[in-house]
Amino acid sequence: MGFFTDTSICIGCKACEVACKEWNQLEGNPPEFRDSFDNTGQLDAQNWRHVQFIEQVPDNNGVVFQPTPIAGGQAWLMMSDVCKHCQNASCLEVCPTNAIVRTEFDTVFIQQDVCNGCRNCISACPYGVIGFNEKTGTVHKCTLCYDRLQLNKMPACAQACPTESIRFGYLDDLQKAADARLAALQKSGFAKAQLYGRDASVYGGLNAFFLLMDKPEAYNLPSKESAKLPDRNNTAGYAAGVLTAAAALVAGVFSFRGRRMAQREAGTEAAGNDQ
């Protein structure tokens, strides 16, 4: 199961954020006013859905001009961001306690009674999704409404979305819908429109994938080239350690054994001189 988020029809109403907080009983962070309509800021332990407002409006000495229509309203991008429930999930890979598991719905879930708050998953998540909750001492993120799925209910955010920008369902169905929508947009002249995470090119495929109106980096998503698993550095990292250890042992032999041999030779010479 998964999400298909079509950013081309997101209107930034934040109904998804509210529904998510309501259902999951998230307190939310203290209000913070930023230089944007985006006053949520980021995904974290209290925000499992985050509507990004990416403003590409020309600005000149503080005087904001009317946005120039760029290929049908691309001057202001909006995207309801969420945990991607990656097929090859970095967080699940590094979690040392097995607190992060893949569920029967093929989603990525953090078991709160197992997590010990080491925060290794935060270090590994390439999307900055997971947040640490000081009150619980554990990490949190979108569960894809695991409890609702068990009751055959749709995740709260998808149910609340008024434009069906967030769609929930079986991945096969969502992928077909996404392909059709992309084709329609491209036919209408939206050359930059693209799917992100629809295929295996990003972390083996994302169970929450997106239709974007610009390159992924514009939405704070790593490009396909940058989307790599943490274990890419395992072999080389340990190899560098082994080579260093070997060099250090050679240094030890030179410094300690070499000196002992020199002392022995000096002792032998001294004994020879005495004779």
Partner: protein, 293 residues
């Protein structure tokens, strides 16, 4: 340039202290083993001090790690899978391997600590253990402990690299770098512990020789670290004002053991050792905070 849109894990002061103590604990054990294998009988005093230092430094490691957890009481979840049951061991996760390695190294370090005390006549109760670990059995024990010690000193760097954080994941030099730096720091501690007039002076000179090699290796790895991070486009993260000050300490710490024995500038080896220790701490601080400032 490699994109990173991540959140910092907030691994800060406790982790810095853990990385420092792990480097000293692992490095000291390895140096004790080297002195025992390749040194002369006169080095035995410092070798014993190395094993004692290793264990004392190691005591702090699980404490710092546990305090840093969000749920410290669940520290044992690192070893036991409380969800599915049984032991949890993920060889591809450095934190998982590190947890087991710390436990195993703790055993080796503790036993070597007891043997070192018994050999020095400070703990008679451990005499049977010391007798049992004499000869070949002791060599095997020390060799395994040395491998574990080298691992403990270096794996912390690999742990940082196996992530998606800027700087940390843009290089694979950190394991080697932390190992070389840990050995250098441990040599510095042992030089500081060496007592004049008890035959230790000669060992301290040998340790200074070894330390010069370690800092040379460390310097090479630092260059490779900076080059790899620069190639990924994140050099600026290493050059903040506070970090530049820390880099200065790192450079002084590396230069001190080399300069202390040069013909032009000779100064007290203990001063050089103290500066080296400061550099070891500064290096870890640079690496840890470069991705999180």
């Amino acid at each position: 340039m490699i994109d990173h849109f991540v959140r910092a894990p907030a691994w800060e002061w406790w982790i810095l202290l853990y990385f420092f103590c792990a480097g000293i604990a692992g490095g000291a054990y390895a140096l004790g083993a080297m002195l025992r294998f390749w040194g002369s009988p006169r080095d035995e005093g410092i070798a014993r001090a190395a094993f004692i230092t290793s264990f004392i430094a190691l005591i702090f490691c699980p404490i710092f790690l546990t305090v840093d957890l969000g749920q410290p009481i669940r520290f044992w979840h690192m070893l036991f899978d409380t969800g599915a049951g049984g032991l949890v061991f993920k060889f591809w996760s450095p934190m998982s391997i590190g947890s087991w390695a710390l436990l195993l190294f703790g055993l080796f370090s503790f036993v070597s600590f007891l043997v070192a005390l018994a050999s020095g006549g400070q703990l008679r109760a451990a005499d049977p253990l010391a007798r049992w670990l004499r000869g070949r059995a002791g060599d095997v024990w020390t060799a395994i402990g040395m491998i574990l010690g080298l691992f403990i000193a270096g794996y912390t760097g690999v742990l940082l690299s196996v992530s998606n954080q800027p700087v940390w994941s843009d290089t694979w030099m950190l394991g080697g770098l932390f190992l070389a730096s840990g050995l250098s720091g441990a040599a510095a501690v042992l030089i500081l512990l060496a007592r004049r007039g008890r035959g230790d002076t000669d060992t301290a000179v040998a340790l200074s020789d070894a330390d010069r090699w370690f800092v040379i290796i460390e310097a090479v790895l630092i260059v490779l670290f900076v080059v790899t991070v620069a190639a990924a486009g994140w050099l600026a993260s290493l050059l903040g004002p506070v970090l530049l000050l820390l880099w200065l300490l790192v450079i002084v710490g590396i230069a001190a053991p080399i300069v202390s024995h040069s013909r032009r500038m000779t100064f007290e080896p203990r001063v050089a050792a103290a500066l080296t220790l400061l550099g070891v701490l500064a290096l870890r601080a640079v690496v840890i905070f470069s991705a999180q400032l």
